[in-house]
Amino acid sequence: MNEAWRYFLLFFGASVVANILLIRFIALCPFFGVSTSLETSLGMSISVIFVMTMATSVSWIAWNYVLKPLGVGEFLYIPSFILIIASLVQFVEMVIKKTSPPLYRAMGIYLPLITTNCAVLAAATESVKPGFFTKLNIAYHYGFPEALVYTIGVAVGFSLVLILFAAMRERLEMAPIPKFFRGVPIAFITAALFSLAFMGFAGMFNL
Protein backbone atom coordinates (compact mmCIF):
# COMPACT_ATOMS: atom_id res chain seq x y z
CA MET A 1 0.00 0.00 0.00
CA ASN A 2 1.62 3.23 -1.06
CA GLU A 3 1.71 6.30 1.14
CA ALA A 4 -0.74 8.52 -0.73
CA TRP A 5 -3.37 5.78 -0.82
CA ARG A 6 -2.92 5.12 2.88
CA TYR A 7 -3.42 8.77 3.69
CA PHE A 8 -6.52 8.83 1.53
CA LEU A 9 -7.94 5.82 3.32
CA LEU A 10 -7.15 7.40 6.68
CA PHE A 11 -8.94 10.57 5.63
CA PHE A 12 -11.91 8.75 4.15
CA GLY A 13 -12.21 6.44 7.13
CA ALA A 14 -12.14 9.34 9.59
CA SER A 15 -14.55 11.53 7.68
CA VAL A 16 -17.14 9.14 6.28
CA VAL A 17 -16.81 5.53 7.45
CA ALA A 18 -16.40 6.35 11.13
CA ASN A 19 -18.16 9.69 10.95
CA ILE A 20 -17.88 11.46 14.26
CA LEU A 21 -21.50 12.59 14.35
CA LEU A 22 -23.46 9.80 12.78
CA ILE A 23 -21.48 6.69 13.58
CA ARG A 24 -19.74 7.58 16.83
CA PHE A 25 -22.33 10.03 18.17
CA ILE A 26 -19.81 12.50 19.50
CA ALA A 27 -20.54 16.26 19.49
CA LEU A 28 -24.29 15.89 19.19
CA CYS A 29 -25.02 19.18 20.92
CA PRO A 30 -23.59 21.42 18.18
CA PHE A 31 -25.11 18.97 15.69
CA PHE A 32 -28.60 19.88 16.89
CA GLY A 33 -27.86 23.34 18.22
CA VAL A 34 -26.17 24.92 15.22
CA SER A 35 -27.89 23.05 12.41
CA THR A 36 -31.00 25.23 12.25
CA SER A 37 -29.72 27.34 9.39
CA LEU A 38 -27.27 26.71 6.59
CA GLU A 39 -25.41 29.94 7.23
CA THR A 40 -24.56 29.28 10.88
CA SER A 41 -23.65 25.66 10.15
CA LEU A 42 -21.19 26.84 7.50
CA GLY A 43 -19.57 29.26 9.95
CA MET A 44 -19.42 26.56 12.60
CA SER A 45 -17.93 24.04 10.17
CA ILE A 46 -15.11 26.31 9.09
CA SER A 47 -14.33 27.18 12.70
CA VAL A 48 -14.33 23.50 13.69
CA ILE A 49 -11.97 22.51 10.89
CA PHE A 50 -9.63 25.32 11.88
CA VAL A 51 -9.69 24.71 15.63
CA MET A 52 -9.58 20.92 15.40
CA THR A 53 -6.50 20.98 13.22
CA MET A 54 -4.69 23.36 15.54
CA ALA A 55 -5.80 21.54 18.69
CA THR A 56 -4.60 18.19 17.44
CA SER A 57 -1.25 19.56 16.32
CA VAL A 58 -0.58 21.03 19.74
CA SER A 59 -1.95 18.01 21.62
CA TRP A 60 0.17 15.67 19.53
CA ILE A 61 3.29 17.63 20.42
CA ALA A 62 2.32 17.71 24.10
CA TRP A 63 1.68 13.96 24.09
CA ASN A 64 4.80 12.89 22.26
CA TYR A 65 7.27 15.28 23.86
CA VAL A 66 5.91 15.77 27.38
CA LEU A 67 3.23 13.34 28.51
CA LYS A 68 4.55 10.12 26.97
CA PRO A 69 8.24 10.55 27.93
CA LEU A 70 7.20 11.34 31.51
CA GLY A 71 4.95 8.32 31.58
CA VAL A 72 1.94 10.26 32.88
CA GLY A 73 -0.02 10.41 29.64
CA GLU A 74 -2.29 7.45 30.29
CA PHE A 75 -4.15 9.22 33.10
CA LEU A 76 -3.37 12.87 32.44
CA TYR A 77 -4.25 13.20 28.78
CA ILE A 78 -7.81 14.42 29.33
CA PRO A 79 -7.07 17.27 31.77
CA SER A 80 -4.01 18.38 29.84
CA PHE A 81 -5.77 18.30 26.47
CA ILE A 82 -8.72 20.26 27.84
CA LEU A 83 -6.31 22.82 29.28
CA ILE A 84 -4.38 23.05 26.02
CA ILE A 85 -7.42 23.28 23.76
CA ALA A 86 -9.18 25.86 25.91
CA SER A 87 -6.09 28.09 26.08
CA LEU A 88 -5.43 27.62 22.40
CA VAL A 89 -8.91 28.71 21.41
CA GLN A 90 -8.65 31.75 23.66
CA PHE A 91 -5.31 32.60 22.14
CA VAL A 92 -6.55 32.15 18.57
CA GLU A 93 -9.57 34.30 19.34
CA MET A 94 -7.35 37.12 20.56
CA VAL A 95 -5.05 36.88 17.55
CA ILE A 96 -7.93 36.87 15.08
CA LYS A 97 -9.60 39.77 16.83
CA LYS A 98 -6.44 41.82 16.49
CA THR A 99 -5.29 40.81 13.04
CA SER A 100 -8.47 40.18 11.09
CA PRO A 101 -11.72 41.77 12.29
CA PRO A 102 -13.78 40.39 9.35
CA LEU A 103 -12.66 36.84 10.13
CA TYR A 104 -13.41 37.47 13.79
CA ARG A 105 -16.91 38.61 12.95
CA ALA A 106 -17.48 35.48 10.88
CA MET A 107 -15.99 32.99 13.33
CA GLY A 108 -15.96 34.87 16.63
CA ILE A 109 -19.23 33.65 18.06
CA TYR A 110 -18.39 30.01 17.34
CA LEU A 111 -14.91 29.97 18.84
CA PRO A 112 -15.91 29.97 22.54
CA LEU A 113 -18.52 27.36 21.67
CA ILE A 114 -15.83 25.11 20.24
CA THR A 115 -13.69 25.38 23.39
CA THR A 116 -16.05 22.98 25.07
CA ASN A 117 -16.79 20.88 22.02
CA CYS A 118 -16.22 17.20 22.70
CA ALA A 119 -15.46 16.49 19.03
CA VAL A 120 -12.28 18.55 19.29
CA LEU A 121 -11.16 16.63 22.37
CA ALA A 122 -12.14 13.36 20.74
CA ALA A 123 -10.11 14.09 17.63
CA ALA A 124 -7.09 15.12 19.69
CA THR A 125 -7.36 12.02 21.87
CA GLU A 126 -7.91 9.68 18.96
CA SER A 127 -4.95 10.95 17.03
CA VAL A 128 -2.63 10.11 19.91
CA LYS A 129 -4.50 7.00 21.01
CA PRO A 130 -6.03 5.55 17.81
CA GLY A 131 -9.08 3.42 18.23
CA PHE A 132 -9.80 4.79 21.69
CA PHE A 133 -13.42 5.64 21.03
CA THR A 134 -14.17 2.81 18.66
CA LYS A 135 -12.55 0.27 21.00
CA LEU A 136 -10.65 -1.27 18.12
CA ASN A 137 -7.53 -1.98 20.15
CA ILE A 138 -5.19 -0.86 17.44
CA ALA A 139 -1.69 -0.76 18.80
CA TYR A 140 -0.57 1.91 16.42
CA HIS A 141 0.84 5.35 16.97
CA TYR A 142 0.19 8.02 14.43
CA GLY A 143 3.07 10.14 13.26
CA PHE A 144 2.50 13.87 13.00
CA PRO A 145 1.34 13.89 9.33
CA GLU A 146 -0.98 10.96 9.97
CA ALA A 147 -2.46 12.65 13.03
CA LEU A 148 -3.02 15.77 10.98
CA VAL A 149 -4.71 13.94 8.13
CA TYR A 150 -6.84 12.01 10.59
CA THR A 151 -7.99 15.19 12.35
CA ILE A 152 -8.77 17.03 9.17
CA GLY A 153 -10.74 13.95 8.14
CA VAL A 154 -12.75 14.05 11.35
CA ALA A 155 -13.38 17.79 11.00
CA VAL A 156 -14.41 17.51 7.35
CA GLY A 157 -16.74 14.65 8.26
CA PHE A 158 -18.27 16.79 10.98
CA SER A 159 -18.71 19.72 8.58
CA LEU A 160 -20.12 17.56 5.81
CA VAL A 161 -22.81 16.07 8.01
CA LEU A 162 -23.56 19.35 9.78
CA ILE A 163 -24.08 21.20 6.50
CA LEU A 164 -26.14 18.40 4.94
CA PHE A 165 -28.26 18.20 8.05
CA ALA A 166 -28.76 21.97 8.23
CA ALA A 167 -29.89 22.02 4.61
CA MET A 168 -32.33 19.26 5.42
CA ARG A 169 -33.66 21.02 8.51
CA GLU A 170 -34.29 24.16 6.51
CA ARG A 171 -36.51 22.09 4.24
CA LEU A 172 -38.17 20.45 7.23
CA GLU A 173 -39.20 23.87 8.54
CA MET A 174 -41.38 24.27 5.49
CA ALA A 175 -42.72 20.75 5.34
CA PRO A 176 -46.21 19.91 6.60
CA ILE A 177 -45.14 17.94 9.66
CA PRO A 178 -47.59 16.81 12.34
CA LYS A 179 -47.62 19.27 15.21
CA PHE A 180 -46.05 16.89 17.74
CA PHE A 181 -43.02 16.27 15.56
CA ARG A 182 -42.24 19.90 14.75
CA GLY A 183 -38.79 21.22 15.54
CA VAL A 184 -36.37 18.97 17.40
CA PRO A 185 -38.32 15.66 17.37
CA ILE A 186 -38.37 15.46 13.59
CA ALA A 187 -34.71 16.49 13.60
CA PHE A 188 -33.89 13.52 15.81
CA ILE A 189 -35.78 11.15 13.54
CA THR A 190 -34.06 12.56 10.49
CA ALA A 191 -30.68 12.25 12.19
CA ALA A 192 -31.41 8.60 12.92
CA LEU A 193 -32.27 7.90 9.28
CA PHE A 194 -29.18 9.81 8.25
CA SER A 195 -27.11 7.70 10.59
CA LEU A 196 -28.57 4.51 9.11
CA ALA A 197 -27.57 5.71 5.65
CA PHE A 198 -24.01 6.30 6.83
CA MET A 199 -23.92 2.81 8.34
CA GLY A 200 -23.80 1.66 4.74
CA PHE A 201 -20.15 2.68 4.64
CA ALA A 202 -19.23 0.45 7.56
CA GLY A 203 -16.82 -2.32 6.73
CA MET A 204 -15.85 -0.84 3.37
CA PHE A 205 -12.23 -1.43 4.22
CA ASN A 206 -9.97 -1.99 7.17
CA LEU A 207 -6.98 0.03 8.00
Binding site: A62, V66, L67, L70, G71, V72, F75, L76, P79, S80, L83, I84, S87, Q90, F91, M94, V95, K97, K98, T99, M174, A175, P176
Partner: protein, 310 residues
Protein backbone atom coordinates in the same frame (compact mmCIF):
# COMPACT_ATOMS: atom_id res chain seq x y z
CA UNK B 1 3.23 3.85 45.84
CA UNK B 2 5.27 5.46 43.13
CA UNK B 3 5.78 9.02 44.35
CA UNK B 4 7.90 10.03 41.37
CA UNK B 5 4.90 9.45 39.11
CA UNK B 6 2.75 11.69 41.30
CA UNK B 7 5.40 14.41 41.22
CA UNK B 8 5.77 14.05 37.46
CA UNK B 9 2.01 14.38 37.02
CA UNK B 10 1.78 17.43 39.25
CA UNK B 11 4.78 19.11 37.65
CA UNK B 12 3.69 18.42 34.07
CA UNK B 13 0.11 19.60 34.57
CA UNK B 14 1.21 22.63 36.62
CA UNK B 15 3.82 23.33 33.96
CA UNK B 16 1.18 23.31 31.26
CA UNK B 17 -1.02 25.57 33.33
CA UNK B 18 1.69 28.11 34.10
CA UNK B 19 3.04 28.10 30.55
CA UNK B 20 -0.37 28.51 28.92
CA UNK B 21 -1.40 31.10 31.48
CA UNK B 22 1.73 33.10 30.77
CA UNK B 23 1.17 32.88 27.02
CA UNK B 24 -2.43 34.06 27.41
CA UNK B 25 -1.38 36.90 29.71
CA UNK B 26 1.20 38.11 27.23
CA UNK B 27 -1.19 37.66 24.33
CA UNK B 28 -3.93 39.66 26.02
CA UNK B 29 -1.48 42.56 26.26
CA UNK B 30 0.02 42.14 22.83
CA UNK B 31 -3.25 41.60 21.03
CA UNK B 32 -5.34 44.00 23.04
CA UNK B 33 -7.94 45.70 20.89
CA UNK B 34 -9.10 49.14 21.89
CA UNK B 35 -12.87 49.12 21.98
CA UNK B 36 -15.22 51.98 22.61
CA UNK B 37 -16.54 51.45 26.16
CA UNK B 38 -19.85 52.86 25.01
CA UNK B 39 -20.37 49.81 22.77
CA UNK B 40 -20.72 47.55 25.79
CA UNK B 41 -23.00 50.06 27.52
CA UNK B 42 -25.24 50.44 24.49
CA UNK B 43 -25.33 46.69 24.05
CA UNK B 44 -26.49 46.44 27.63
CA UNK B 45 -29.30 48.89 26.93
CA UNK B 46 -30.51 47.17 23.76
CA UNK B 47 -33.07 44.35 24.06
CA UNK B 48 -30.58 41.71 22.90
CA UNK B 49 -33.04 39.62 20.93
CA UNK B 50 -30.98 40.11 17.73
CA UNK B 51 -34.14 40.55 15.70
CA UNK B 52 -32.40 42.44 12.91
CA UNK B 53 -35.22 44.94 12.47
CA UNK B 54 -32.68 47.76 12.41
CA UNK B 55 -31.12 46.30 9.27
CA UNK B 56 -27.88 45.46 11.06
CA UNK B 57 -26.76 41.93 11.89
CA UNK B 58 -27.70 41.73 15.55
CA UNK B 59 -27.61 44.00 18.57
CA UNK B 60 -23.82 44.01 18.80
CA UNK B 61 -23.48 45.43 15.29
CA UNK B 62 -26.15 48.00 16.09
CA UNK B 63 -24.32 49.04 19.27
CA UNK B 64 -21.08 49.44 17.32
CA UNK B 65 -22.77 51.46 14.62
CA UNK B 66 -24.37 53.79 17.17
CA UNK B 67 -21.09 54.28 19.03
CA UNK B 68 -19.34 55.13 15.77
CA UNK B 69 -22.10 57.53 14.90
CA UNK B 70 -23.10 55.55 11.82
CA UNK B 71 -26.56 54.83 13.16
CA UNK B 72 -28.97 57.13 14.98
CA UNK B 73 -29.73 56.56 18.66
CA UNK B 74 -33.25 55.48 17.77
CA UNK B 75 -31.83 52.60 15.71
CA UNK B 76 -33.76 50.03 17.74
CA UNK B 77 -37.32 49.87 16.53
CA UNK B 78 -38.04 46.89 18.74
CA UNK B 79 -36.85 48.48 21.97
CA UNK B 80 -39.19 51.44 21.71
CA UNK B 81 -38.79 54.78 23.46
CA UNK B 82 -37.20 53.43 26.66
CA UNK B 83 -34.26 52.01 24.76
CA UNK B 84 -33.93 55.12 22.64
CA UNK B 85 -33.73 57.26 25.76
CA UNK B 86 -31.20 54.92 27.38
CA UNK B 87 -29.00 54.81 24.27
CA UNK B 88 -29.32 58.56 23.90
CA UNK B 89 -28.12 59.06 27.46
CA UNK B 90 -25.06 56.91 26.80
CA UNK B 91 -24.28 58.88 23.66
CA UNK B 92 -24.83 62.16 25.51
CA UNK B 93 -27.87 63.19 23.53
CA UNK B 94 -31.21 64.41 24.76
CA UNK B 95 -33.87 62.41 23.04
CA UNK B 96 -37.40 63.37 22.33
CA UNK B 97 -39.42 60.26 21.80
CA UNK B 98 -42.42 59.64 19.65
CA UNK B 99 -45.10 57.12 20.42
CA UNK B 100 -44.16 53.44 20.44
CA UNK B 101 -45.62 51.33 17.72
CA UNK B 102 -47.22 47.92 17.60
CA UNK B 103 -48.18 45.69 14.72
CA UNK B 104 -51.80 45.35 13.74
CA UNK B 105 -53.20 42.77 11.33
CA UNK B 106 -55.93 44.19 9.15
CA UNK B 107 -58.12 41.14 8.87
CA UNK B 108 -60.71 39.50 11.08
CA UNK B 109 -62.28 37.15 8.55
CA UNK B 110 -61.59 33.72 9.99
CA UNK B 111 -62.99 30.31 9.15
CA UNK B 112 -66.63 31.03 9.86
CA UNK B 113 -66.67 34.53 8.37
CA UNK B 114 -64.74 33.91 5.16
CA UNK B 115 -65.13 30.19 4.43
CA UNK B 116 -62.33 28.41 2.59
CA UNK B 117 -62.91 27.83 -1.10
CA UNK B 118 -60.17 25.24 -1.41
CA UNK B 119 -58.11 23.05 0.87
CA UNK B 120 -54.56 24.36 0.71
CA UNK B 121 -52.01 21.66 1.40
CA UNK B 122 -48.84 23.15 -0.01
CA UNK B 123 -45.81 24.63 1.68
CA UNK B 124 -46.78 25.99 5.07
CA UNK B 125 -46.00 29.59 4.24
CA UNK B 126 -48.24 32.53 3.37
CA UNK B 127 -45.80 33.72 0.74
CA UNK B 128 -46.04 30.38 -1.04
CA UNK B 129 -49.81 30.11 -0.58
CA UNK B 130 -50.31 33.65 -1.82
CA UNK B 131 -48.71 32.77 -5.15
CA UNK B 132 -51.41 30.17 -5.67
CA UNK B 133 -54.15 32.43 -4.36
CA UNK B 134 -54.41 30.53 -1.09
CA UNK B 135 -57.34 28.48 0.10
CA UNK B 136 -59.36 31.38 1.34
CA UNK B 137 -62.43 32.83 -0.34
CA UNK B 138 -61.17 36.37 0.21
CA UNK B 139 -58.08 37.06 -1.92
CA UNK B 140 -56.98 39.90 0.38
CA UNK B 141 -57.41 38.32 3.81
CA UNK B 142 -55.05 36.73 6.31
CA UNK B 143 -54.02 33.23 5.26
CA UNK B 144 -53.19 32.30 8.84
CA UNK B 145 -50.04 30.32 8.02
CA UNK B 146 -46.56 30.65 9.48
CA UNK B 147 -44.74 33.63 8.04
CA UNK B 148 -45.39 36.50 10.44
CA UNK B 149 -45.27 34.25 13.50
CA UNK B 150 -41.97 32.78 12.27
CA UNK B 151 -40.19 36.09 11.87
CA UNK B 152 -41.51 37.50 15.14
CA UNK B 153 -38.52 37.52 17.51
CA UNK B 154 -40.72 37.69 20.62
CA UNK B 155 -43.44 35.18 19.66
CA UNK B 156 -46.13 37.85 19.84
CA UNK B 157 -48.22 36.51 16.98
CA UNK B 158 -50.65 33.71 17.66
CA UNK B 159 -53.88 32.37 16.17
CA UNK B 160 -57.17 33.77 17.26
CA UNK B 161 -60.25 31.63 17.76
CA UNK B 162 -61.09 32.01 14.08
CA UNK B 163 -57.81 30.57 12.76
CA UNK B 164 -56.29 33.80 11.58
CA UNK B 165 -53.31 35.60 12.99
CA UNK B 166 -53.53 37.98 15.90
CA UNK B 167 -50.84 40.19 17.47
CA UNK B 168 -50.47 40.08 21.21
CA UNK B 169 -49.95 43.78 21.93
CA UNK B 170 -48.48 43.03 25.33
CA UNK B 171 -45.59 41.16 23.77
CA UNK B 172 -45.19 43.13 20.54
CA UNK B 173 -42.08 45.29 20.51
CA UNK B 174 -42.92 47.10 17.28
CA UNK B 175 -39.93 45.85 15.31
CA UNK B 176 -41.98 45.70 12.09
CA UNK B 177 -40.49 42.46 10.74
CA UNK B 178 -43.93 40.90 10.33
CA UNK B 179 -45.14 43.92 8.34
CA UNK B 180 -42.30 43.37 5.89
CA UNK B 181 -42.96 39.69 5.46
CA UNK B 182 -46.75 39.61 4.98
CA UNK B 183 -47.40 38.90 1.30
CA UNK B 184 -50.84 40.48 1.47
CA UNK B 185 -49.55 43.62 3.15
CA UNK B 186 -52.09 43.24 5.95
CA UNK B 187 -49.83 44.20 8.82
CA UNK B 188 -49.42 47.86 9.64
CA UNK B 189 -47.37 49.45 12.37
CA UNK B 190 -49.72 51.64 14.40
CA UNK B 191 -49.12 53.79 17.48
CA UNK B 192 -49.87 51.98 20.75
CA UNK B 193 -52.39 54.69 21.51
CA UNK B 194 -54.54 53.65 18.55
CA UNK B 195 -57.77 52.04 19.66
CA UNK B 196 -59.92 51.97 16.53
CA UNK B 197 -59.04 49.63 13.70
CA UNK B 198 -60.36 48.92 10.24
CA UNK B 199 -59.93 45.18 10.33
CA UNK B 200 -60.15 44.59 6.61
CA UNK B 201 -58.17 45.41 3.50
CA UNK B 202 -60.48 43.97 0.88
CA UNK B 203 -60.33 45.87 -2.39
CA UNK B 204 -63.68 44.42 -3.37
CA UNK B 205 -66.61 46.73 -2.78
CA UNK B 206 -70.28 46.27 -2.00
CA UNK B 207 -71.84 42.89 -2.53
CA UNK B 208 -68.71 41.40 -4.04
CA UNK B 209 -66.85 42.07 -0.78
CA UNK B 210 -69.51 40.57 1.46
CA UNK B 211 -69.84 37.54 -0.81
CA UNK B 212 -66.32 36.42 0.14
CA UNK B 213 -66.35 37.57 3.75
CA UNK B 214 -69.18 38.56 6.05
CA UNK B 215 -67.13 41.20 7.85
CA UNK B 216 -65.46 42.77 4.83
CA UNK B 217 -65.15 46.50 4.33
CA UNK B 218 -67.49 47.26 1.47
CA UNK B 219 -66.15 50.74 0.81
CA UNK B 220 -69.48 52.44 1.66
CA UNK B 221 -67.84 55.63 3.02
CA UNK B 222 -70.22 55.89 5.97
CA UNK B 223 -67.23 55.99 8.29
CA UNK B 224 -65.67 58.78 6.26
CA UNK B 225 -68.77 60.86 6.79
CA UNK B 226 -69.12 59.90 10.44
CA UNK B 227 -65.59 60.87 11.38
CA UNK B 228 -65.47 64.21 13.21
CA UNK B 229 -61.70 64.47 12.82
CA UNK B 230 -61.48 63.71 9.10
CA UNK B 231 -59.11 60.86 9.96
CA UNK B 232 -60.62 57.98 7.98
CA UNK B 233 -60.49 57.66 4.22
CA UNK B 234 -61.87 55.08 1.85
CA UNK B 235 -59.39 54.45 -0.87
CA UNK B 236 -59.00 51.50 -3.22
CA UNK B 237 -62.08 49.83 -1.81
CA UNK B 238 -61.29 49.84 1.87
CA UNK B 239 -61.16 52.35 4.70
CA UNK B 240 -57.92 53.27 6.41
CA UNK B 241 -57.32 55.41 9.44
CA UNK B 242 -54.76 58.19 9.70
CA UNK B 243 -53.62 57.77 13.29
CA UNK B 244 -52.12 61.26 13.38
CA UNK B 245 -55.64 62.62 13.25
CA UNK B 246 -57.68 59.84 14.88
CA UNK B 247 -59.10 60.70 18.29
CA UNK B 248 -60.27 57.15 19.11
CA UNK B 249 -63.88 58.35 19.35
CA UNK B 250 -65.20 55.18 17.71
CA UNK B 251 -67.88 56.94 15.66
CA UNK B 252 -66.71 55.15 12.52
CA UNK B 253 -67.06 51.75 14.18
CA UNK B 254 -70.54 52.71 15.31
CA UNK B 255 -71.75 53.35 11.77
CA UNK B 256 -69.91 50.52 10.01
CA UNK B 257 -72.56 48.28 8.42
CA UNK B 258 -70.40 45.14 8.30
CA UNK B 259 -68.59 45.56 11.64
CA UNK B 260 -65.23 45.60 9.91
CA UNK B 261 -64.25 48.58 12.04
CA UNK B 262 -63.76 47.60 15.65
CA UNK B 263 -62.64 49.22 18.85
CA UNK B 264 -59.89 47.73 21.00
CA UNK B 265 -60.89 47.65 24.65
CA UNK B 266 -58.24 46.93 27.25
CA UNK B 267 -59.16 44.28 29.78
CA UNK B 268 -56.74 43.73 32.62
CA UNK B 269 -57.59 40.06 33.11
CA UNK B 270 -57.47 39.14 29.42
CA UNK B 271 -54.42 37.12 28.29
CA UNK B 272 -53.88 39.34 25.25
CA UNK B 273 -54.45 42.52 27.23
CA UNK B 274 -57.83 43.28 25.73
CA UNK B 275 -60.19 42.44 22.91
CA UNK B 276 -61.93 43.90 19.88
CA UNK B 277 -65.53 44.94 20.33
CA UNK B 278 -68.16 46.48 18.12
CA UNK B 279 -69.62 49.56 19.81
CA UNK B 280 -73.34 49.99 20.07
CA UNK B 281 -74.71 51.02 16.72
CA UNK B 282 -75.90 54.59 16.51
CA UNK B 283 -78.15 53.85 13.58
CA UNK B 284 -80.50 51.10 12.62
CA UNK B 285 -79.67 47.50 13.56
CA UNK B 286 -77.54 45.55 11.10
CA UNK B 287 -79.18 45.01 7.77
CA UNK B 288 -80.98 41.66 7.68
CA UNK B 289 -80.57 39.36 4.69
CA UNK B 290 -79.59 42.19 2.38
CA UNK B 291 -82.96 43.97 2.84
CA UNK B 292 -83.36 47.64 2.05
CA UNK B 293 -82.89 50.28 4.72
CA UNK B 294 -85.97 51.07 6.73
CA UNK B 295 -86.85 54.75 6.50
CA UNK B 296 -87.75 54.94 10.21
CA UNK B 297 -84.26 53.91 11.26
CA UNK B 298 -82.64 56.72 9.39
CA UNK B 299 -83.81 59.35 11.89
CA UNK B 300 -81.45 57.92 14.49
CA UNK B 301 -78.47 58.68 12.31
CA UNK B 302 -75.68 60.70 13.95
CA UNK B 303 -75.61 64.44 13.26
CA UNK B 304 -72.29 64.19 11.42
CA UNK B 305 -73.88 62.14 8.69
CA UNK B 306 -76.70 64.60 8.15
CA UNK B 307 -74.51 67.68 8.24
CA UNK B 308 -72.22 66.39 5.51
CA UNK B 309 -72.91 67.68 2.02
CA UNK B 310 -73.32 64.73 -0.31
Amino acid sequence: MDWTLVWKAIVSLAGFGILLGAILAVASRRFHVETDPRVAEILEALPGSNCGACGLPGCEAAAEAVAKGEAPVNVCRAGGPDVTVAVGRIMGLEVEVGVAQVAHIHCRGGKSLSPPRAFYQGVNSCRAAHLLGGGKACPFGCLGLQDCADVCPVSAIAFDEEGIRRVNVRKCTGCGLCADVCPRDLIQMVPVTAKVFVRCKSRYTGKKATSVCRVACIGCRRCEKACPADAIRVDDGFASIDYDKCTNCGDCAAVCPTDSIQVWVERSGHPEGGEFVVPEKKRRPRREEGGREKPGAREEAPPQEDGEPS
